[in-house]
C-alpha cells in the first residue's frame, strides 16, 4: 500500500513539476518516487510490516506475491523512464503528461497485483490501460503513432467491455465480487452452472486479448510498431507482467478447480499452440525491428501461458511467473534501449548493421538481450524458460515439446538480428553517443539479463 501511494503521489508531483518546463525535474521526481517505492517494498519484504500499516483496504492485499510483482513493476518502470528520457531533451513540450501517465499506469499495474475483489481488478485494469491509450499516441508528429493509439483504444475498450460482460455473468452465478467468496461458491456448486461457464469464457477471451495471444493478437504488431519505443517497452514488460499475474491469480484461485479448470483448459491449450506458431512463423519474415519484437513477444506470451495449463498451486506458479516476466522485462528494456539509441526512423533490421563499430557497448547489450529472448544460456532468459517449461512438463509434456520446437524456430530470427548487429556496415556511419542515464539503464538491464539468475540465489 505504501509503495502504491508513493508511486501515485510522485506521478502527481511530476505532473505539476511539468509547469517548470524542465524535463529533468519531471523525470527526476518520477524516478525518485519509484526508487523510494522500491526501497519501501524491499523494506516491507524484509520486515513483513508496512510503514503505514493503518492504511489498509479490504479490496487490496499486499501479500508477498503482490509485493514481489510490484517491485518488478517499479524497477522496470524506472528503467523505461530512463530510456525514454532522451526524447524529451529535444522536445520538452509533453514531458509532464507522458511521465505522469506512465506513473499512473504503473499505479494501475500495482493495483492489479494486489486486488482481492473483482471490482478492484477492474479499476486496476482501467487505470493501467487508459494512460497507455494516450501514451501510444504521444508521438503526435507520427501518423503511425496515432494509428496505434486509436487501434489500441478501440480494440482495448472492446475487450474491456467483454470482460465486464463476463464479470456480470460470473456475478450472476456466484453473487459476489470477492475472490475468496467466488471460490467458495464455486466449490459449493454441485454441477457447474452454465452461467458461470459463459462468464469464465468471456473473461478468458478478454484476458487473451489483453496479453495479445492468438487468435486475438492482431492489434499487437501494429500497436507495438507504431507506438514510441519506450511505450512499446512498457507495454511488453510492465503491462504484460501485471496482466499475467492478475489473471493467473483469478484463474488459479477462482476458476482453477476440478471440472471448471478442465472446461477452459482445453481451449487454452489450443490457443497456446496457435499463439506459438503464429508468433514465430510471422516473425520469420519481418524486416522491421519493432514488428519482429512484437511477434516475438506474442511467442513469449505463448510460453507464459503454459503456466496456466500446468495445474500448479498458485503459490508455486506465481514465483515462476515473476522470474520469467522479470527476466523477460530486463531483456525487453535492453533491446528497446538499443532501438532508441540507434534511432532509425525506418526501423529496419538492416539499420542495425555495423552497430559494433558505432558503439560496442550498444552491440553487447543488444546481443545479450537477444540471446536472453532466445533463451540461450547463461542468460536469465534461459533459466526462466527452463523453470517454466519444467513446471509444465508434469501435466503437459507434449505441449512443452511443442514449445521447445518453437524455441528452435525462433532461434532463426533472433540469430538473424544478432548477426546483423555483428556484421559490418556497407558505408561508414557516425558513432553513437550515449548519455550517462542511458548507459546506467543499459548497465542495469545487462546485469539483469546476464546475472539475474545468479543474483537471485544469493537473496534467498
Amino acid at each position: 500500500m505504501d509503495a502504491l501511494l508513493i508511486v501515485f503521489a510522485s506521478g502527481l508531483i511530476s505532473l505539476f513539476a511539468a509547469f517548470a518546463k524542465k524535463p529533468w525535474l519531471v523525470v527526476g521526481s518520477a524516478m525518485a518516487g519509484l526508487l523510494a517505492a522500491i526501497i519501501v517494498i524491499i523494506g516491507q519484504l524484509q520486515t513483513g510490516k508496512a510503514f503505514f500499516d493503518f492504511l489498509t483496504y479490504e479490496g487490496l492485499a499486499f501479500d508477498q506475491g503482490a509485493l514481489l510483482f510490484s517491485l518488478a513493476i517499479c524497477v522496470l518502470s524506472l528503467l523505461i523512464i530512463g530510456i525514454g528520457y532522451e526524447r524529451f531533451k529535444e522536445n520538452p513540450e509533453h514531458t509532464g503528461e507522458y511521465i505522469g501517465l506512465l506513473m499512473f499506469s504503473a499505479t494501475g499495474a500495482m493495483i492489479m497485483t494486489a486486488y482481492t475483489d473483482m471490482f478492484m481488478f477492474f479499476l486496476g485494469l482501467e487505470i493501467l490501460s487508459i494512460p497507455i491509450y494516450v501514451m501510444a499516441g504521444s508521438n503526435k508528429a507520427d501518423v503511425r503513432s496515432s494509428e496505434a493509439s486509436l487501434k489500441y483504444f478501440l480494440t482495448g475498450s472492446f475487450a474491456t467491455g467483454i470482460f465486464l460482460f463476463g464479470l456480470a455473468w460470473v456475478y450472476g452465478a456466484t453473487g459476489t465480487f470477492k475472490l475468496i467468496e467466488i471460490q467458495m461458491k464455486i466449490q459449493e456448486m454441485e454441477t457447474l452452472s452454465p452461467i458461470l461457464m459463459i462468464g469464465v469464457l468471456l473473461i478468458m477471451a478478454s484476458f487473451i486479448f489483453k496479453v495479445g495471444a492468438a487468435p486475438f493478437h492482431f492489434w499487437s504488431p501494429d500497436v507495438y510498431d507504431g507506438a514510441p519505443p519506450a511505450v512499446t517497452g512498457f507495454m511488453a514488460s510492465v503491462v504484460k507482467m501485471a496482466a499475467f499475474y492478475a489473471f493467473l491469480k483469478m484463474f488459479s484461485v477462482c476458476f482453477g478447480l476440478g471440472e471448471l479448470m478442465d472446461f477452459w483448459n482445453g481451449a487454452l491449450v489450443v490457443m497456446i499452440i496457435i499463439t506459438l506458431f503464429v508468433g514465430n512463423l510471422s516473425a520469420l519474415r519481418q524486416v522491421k525491428f519493432k514488428r519482429l519484437l512484437a511477434y516475438s513477444s506474442i511467442t513469449h506470451v505463448g510460453y507464459t501461458l503454459l503456466l496456466f495449463v500446468s495445474q500448479l498451486d498458485f503459490n508455486y506458479s506465481s514465483p515462476i511467473l515473476w522470474f520469467y516476466m522479470f527476466s523477460y522485462g530486463f531483456s525487453i528494456v535492453g533491446i528497446i534501449a538499443v532501438a532508441i539509441a540507434v534511432n532509425d526512423s525506418e526501423d529496419r533490421i538492416d539499420g542495425l548493421k555495423g552497430l559494433g563499430k558505432r558503439n560496442p557497448f550498444l552491440a553487447i547489450v543488444g546481443i545479450v538481450s537477444l540471446l536472453s529472448l532466445a533463451g540461450i544460456p547463461p542468460t536469465s532468459g534461459f533459466f526462466a524458460k527452463y523453470v517454466l517449461f519444467s513446471s509444465a512438463w508434469a501435466s503437459a509434456s507434449w505441449l512443452v515439446i511443442i514449445a521447445l520446437i518453437n524455441s528452435g524456430i525462433s532461434i532463426y530470427y533472433y540469430l538473424k538480428v544478432i548477426v546483423t548487429i555483428a556484421s559490418p556496415a556497407e558505408q561508414e556511419q557516425e558513432k553513437i553517443k550515449l548519455s550517462p542515464l542511458t548507459i546506467a539503464v543499459m548497465l542495469v538491464a545487462l546485469v539483469g539479463t546476464l546475472g539475474f539468475s545468479f543474483i537471485l540465489p544469493l537473496l534467498y
Binding site: Y386, S390, W393, L404, I405, S407, G408, I411, A422
Partner: protein
Amino acid sequence: MEVLLFILPVFFALSVLIVPKSGVRAYGIIGSLAVLGVVIACMMQYSNDGTVHLFGNKEEWLRSTGITMSFGYDGISLLMLLLTAVLVPLILVSNFKNELAENRLFTSMVFFMQLGLIGVFISMDGLWFYVFWEITLIPIFLISWWFGAPERKAALMKFFIYTFVGSLAMLAALIGLKVNAASFQIEDLKAVILTSKTACWLALGFFLAFAIKIPIFPFHTWQPDTYTKSPMAGTMLLSGIMLKMALYGMIRWMIPLFPEAMSCLQYPVIILATIGVVYGAIIAIKQKDMKRVFAFASMSHVGLIAAAIMVWDFDALSGSMVQIVNHGLVAVGLFLAVEIIERRTGTRNLPDLGGFAKQAPKFAFWFAVLAFASVSVPLTSGFIGEFLMLKGLVQFDMIIGIIAGTTLILGAVYTFRAYQLSMYGPVTRDQFADLHWSELIVLAIIIIAVVILGVYPAIITDFVNPSLKIVLETVSTPSGL
C-alpha cells in the same frame, strides 16, 4: 584451486580486450598456459582411484528448481581438460602468423570458448552441463562469423540452428528426466528408474544433440561447409575439441543415465556411425578442396570413436579415449598443414598445388609424419586407439567390425592422395617458404606427443582406466545404481 578453472578463462577473456594490440599474441598464450598450469595442478592433486573428485555446492542453487552447483572431475574429465588446455595454446601459436592473432575479440572469444569447454567437462549437474554445452556455441559461431571466409553466412546459420535444435532435444530429455529425480545432480539423475520405452525416448533426445555435434551420419550436413568456411582456428576448435564434447557426453551422460535404453539404441547408433565411417572416407577421397578432405576425414574418424563407445566394452572405451586425444592432436596438425599451404599459395584446391616437397623439405617431413599418424601407423597413438576400438567392434559384431575396419585402408587413400597431390608432382609455384618457427613448434609438439603416446599409451590408459571401470560398473547393474 578448482575455481580457477572458471575464473582464469573469464579473466583473460575480459582483460584481453584492453591489452594493446601488439601484446595480444603474447597475452593470449600466457593466459592459455596459465589455464594449462591449473589443469596440471588439478591432475597432480587427483588421487587417480577413479572416483569423482567433487567440488562446489551440492545444495540447491535456485530454489525449487533442483539445480545444484556440483562440479567435479575424474580421470575422464581430467583427460578432456588436459586436451583442451593443451590444444588452446597450440591453436593460438599456430595462428601466430595471421593478422587474426592480433585481434582482441578473437582471443577473447577463444577464452570464452575454453570456459565453455572446461565447464562441459567438469559439470556434474545436468543443467550446468547443458548450460556450458550451449555457451560453447556462441563464441565459435562468432569467431567463424567475424573472421571466416566471405561466403560463410548461410553455412554458419545452418550450423547454429542445427546444433541449437539438437540441444533443445537434449533439454527436453533433461526436463523429462528431472521431473522424476530429486535434483539435477548426476547421481540423482542416475538413480531414476525408467521403463525401457521412456528411457529410449529420453536417450534419443540426448543422442540427437550428440549426433549432430559429433556428427554421426545423417546429421552431418552442416559439418563440411562450416569447417571450410570457418577460419583455421575455428576449424581447429571445432574438430579438435568441440566435437569431443559430444563423445564425452556419451560416456558421461547418455549411457550412464539411460542404461535401459542401451538395448534399443546400441545397434542403430553403431550402424549409423559405421555408415558414417565409410561414407565420410569415400567422400573424402573425391574432394578437391584440401580442407574438405580433412573435414570428411574427421567425420570418418570420429564416427569410429562413437561406434566404439556404443559397444560399451572396457577395451573399446579405453581405445576411444586414446583416439580422442590422438584425433584432437592430429586434426589440429592437419588443419595447420592446410593453412600453411593456403597462406603461401592462396588456394586449397588440390589440382592447383604440387611440388612443395622440393621447396620446403622441413614442411614435407613434418606433414608426412602427420599423415602417417592420421592413418594410424604403428608407433603413433592412432594405432593403439584404432586397434582397440576395432577389436571391440569385431567382438561385438564381426561384419560391422570388418566394415569399420576399411577405414584404415580408405584413410590411407585420402590422406596420401592429399599429401601426394600437394607435396609431390611438378613444381607449381616459384617459391614456397619453409616453416615459420611458430608453425614448426606446433607441428613438432603434436608429432612428439603422438609418437610418445604411440610408444607408451599407458600414460593415457593408466590415467583413465580406473574411472572408466567405475563408469562401466555403474551401468552394468540393471537398476543403474
